[in-house]
Symmetry: C2
Subunit: 437 residues, 2 copies
């Protein structure tokens, strides 16, 4: 038997070579190397790296919600229920969940779409939130929203009328979308959010984008990110004709007050999809079995948090409200601080944990960036990192209107760290402008 | 803007329509319906459904390993460390793992390939197990092995010398492989394990399979399942030329003594892959972020169990040894019992939790199956379910030599249940033979 050519760059899946995931790209690698240098005593103009590149609340000091963690610990070790300081509603919640697990163990597989009980709770939550009845049969639990998003995008991989399939995504976007489209061989069709109008989605721009793309591909779906990532705006209503479309709606437990991103918990609701499409999606997901049952428990806690009067409510609501207040304060502080820097513009941050300020980059800096083989915002962010230790992600990793430059920063650090970071950025920018003007 | 055709059976990804996942197929659906009937008081010739269709140890009553569950509970709620009955080595393990999590929370993302500390432990485990040095840089943690297997198979999606890519898989196989190959558009190239020689893999058969396939596709990889699933044999040595090939080796925490399948924990080791291939794999996986950090904790416990002298060792080893003994007893009992049924043949079950006996099906039964639009082993398993409540998976879901028929059953039930199940199968088979001869 002849041994075939081994796997190499030329004969491997070429689509994978096109994936760029800026959030964990070369700037983060450089940040990690700098942190290692600092740990080994290398002298730098700063004492530590401030990682503002990834939306990871716990990593930046947000404390987990006690109720969630108690449910997880008890679901894992049911023997702990004899402890005095475990509230009754935690015990009751775990009893319900384990009653749904085969043989009462979170270590047994759930059905591939998730535990039925939890899917029902998700449907109840969505019904209450949206005022539109959700059906638990259309709910799927996944390893984070990313996992579910990839499954749904996979459905669109098919030519229509001889034209290759394409998917419209907002620019700026979260690179999960561009990366997954690359991997699946779906054409990325950009539509621009309107930065000058609070990053709003405009019907005319959708139309323009669709028309331009339709000449070479068949547009099969439109992605809407809400709240915006990296842009932070909130869309309250899509209006007609969107209400009548087939809809795949995703939600994650990685952000917001739960912020359990390490536990990988996400939700998908399918609206108006055909049964045969759904059964094929289910078959494809079945080969991968279920999402982590402990992740599913997180979904249950997020969708059905303690209610007033229950033993856990007071602690839960104080923890949740403190987080919301802090996020809202920092959103306001970031917006104010960025707009006070000459050459910066930042929209209000309505519903996310990121800011995406626009920055003016002088012509001489662009020239130097080009000489170094970098795009201007990458050059800017790299210089910011080298001089201040602040690690943010260049706007080019998310997409931006040609000629405009941005970066994405999380707004998750505690107040002091956040003020320090904003001061670093201001100081750096003023020096940078002076150097290159 | 014209609204494009909505997603339907004709314009959706046609590859997904080809996925069949027998382990959770129509027979399981019927089993669930029968159980619902029984719960509602419908009279049947049996009192309950015995689910032997899926390798889910906890679902069938295997108790979780205390050490693993204590580590998980403490990693989730570090405040529990003040409890008196938590052993010191559990506390120490959790301190180490949380020390590796950003800000000490399992709720923060780990690097996409997994926590570095745990990858190092995996490398140490593999080095000790195989006597060949493993490098932690080549270790990846995933949401079960399935997740990682799919990622690696994705690499091969590319024509070579103008021929479509194919992957050789053993027959019988676990349908994760056939399903994932269908989804990815990789041609499935069958090679048969030799049932008459203990399900061994034969070089000549590999050669035959490769030659036949090479006329229409480029064979890019060979899948070896060890221990065999559904077949249960163990391969101790692959020998040359396999030692020199590029290798992707997978391991799961879903089976064996841990058996935490609901927690989704798996491991991949890459051997001799090119750096550019590895970086593309990493980029593709990064868009999905990391595997559940609690799943990663399970990997750590499995790869680095309590050692002699540590506080948890005695309980751990007694739990593990009891499980191993029980499995080994049932493997022997299943082998003996099946071979004592006229028309049955079953190879020794060396290293798995499944039996895959071959059954003779009379011509008249095949005829009736055909009239009902079923393949013979599906008809057999459906009749078995309807008459005894025993739910097993037809061999056709895994593949089998044309004209031979099998089913896969788990051997995980407790002794009494298992004896009862074997008795049901024997009784059913004798009646079935009588009816159709």
């Amino acid at each position: 038997m002849k041994i075939e050519k081994s796997l190499n760059e030329d004969n491997m899946n070429q689509r994978l070579l096109k994936i760029h995931y800026a959030v964990r790209g070369p700037i983060l690698e450089r940040a990690l190397a700098i942190q290692t240098d600092l740990n080994e005593g290398v002298l730098k103009p700063f004492k530590r790296v401030i990682r503002a590149n990834i939306g990871d609340c716990h990593a930046l000091g947000q404390r987990p919600i006690t109720f969630i963690r108690q449910v997880l610990a008890l679901a894992t070790c049911p023997g702990l229920r004899s402890l005095q300081n475990i509230p009754e509603d935690v015990k009751e919640r775990v009893r319900e969940i384990l009653g749904e697990c085969v043989s009462g163990s979170v270590g047994s597989y759930s059905p591939a779409p998730g535990l039925l009980l939890i899917r029902k709770h998700v449907a109840q939550y969505l019904t209450a939130r949206d005022g539109v009845a959700a059906n638990f049969n259309n709910i799927y639990l996944g390893s984070g929203a990313s996992d579910l998003i990839k499954s749904v995008l996979t459905l669109f991989v098919e030519k229509v009328d001889g034209k290759p399939p394409g998917v419209m995504i907002p620019i700026p976007q979260y690179p999960l979308f561009s990366g997954t489209l690359s991997e699946l061989g779906l054409q990325q069709v950009d539509y621009y959010l309107d930065e000058d109008d609070g990053w709003v989605l405009k019907y005319e721009e959708l139309e323009r984008s669709w028309r331009a793309a339709s000449e070479h591909c068949s547009v099969r779906a439109i992605v809407v990110i809400n709240p915006g990532n990296p842009t932070g705006q909130v869309m309250h209503e899509m209006g007609d004709p969107f209400k009548k479309l087939q809809l795949s709606s995703f939600m994650t437990c990685s952000k917001g007050w739960a912020a359990e991103c390490g536990l990988r918990a996400g939700v998908l609701e399918l609206v108006s999809l055909e049964p045969r499409v759904i059964s094929a999606l289910e078959a494809a997901r079945s080969t991968q079995q279920c999402a982590s049952v402990l992740g599913q428990c997180v979904v249950d806690c997020v969708m059905r948090p303690p209610t007033p009067g229950s033993p856990s409510f007071s602690l839960f609501s104080s923890e949740r409200d403190r987080l919301r207040r802090a996020l809202s304060e920092r959103a306001f502080a970031a917006h104010t601080a960025f707009n006070s820097i000459p050459g910066y513009f930042c929209n209000p941050i309505e519903g996310a944990m990121f800011a995406f300020p626009r920055i003016e980059i002088p012509g001489k800096a662009k020239q130097e960036a080009a000489e170094r083989g970098l795009v201007p915002d990458e050059f800017y962010c790299l210089r910011l990192l080298e001089e201040t230790g602040v690690c943010v992600v260049p706007g080019s990793g998310f997409g931006q209107r040609p000629g405009s430059y941005h970066f994405r920063t999380t707004i998750l650090h505690d107040k002091d760290e956040f003020s320090y970071m904003l001061a670093c950025i201001r100081r750096f920018h003023l020096n940078f402008i002076e150097e290159y003007s």
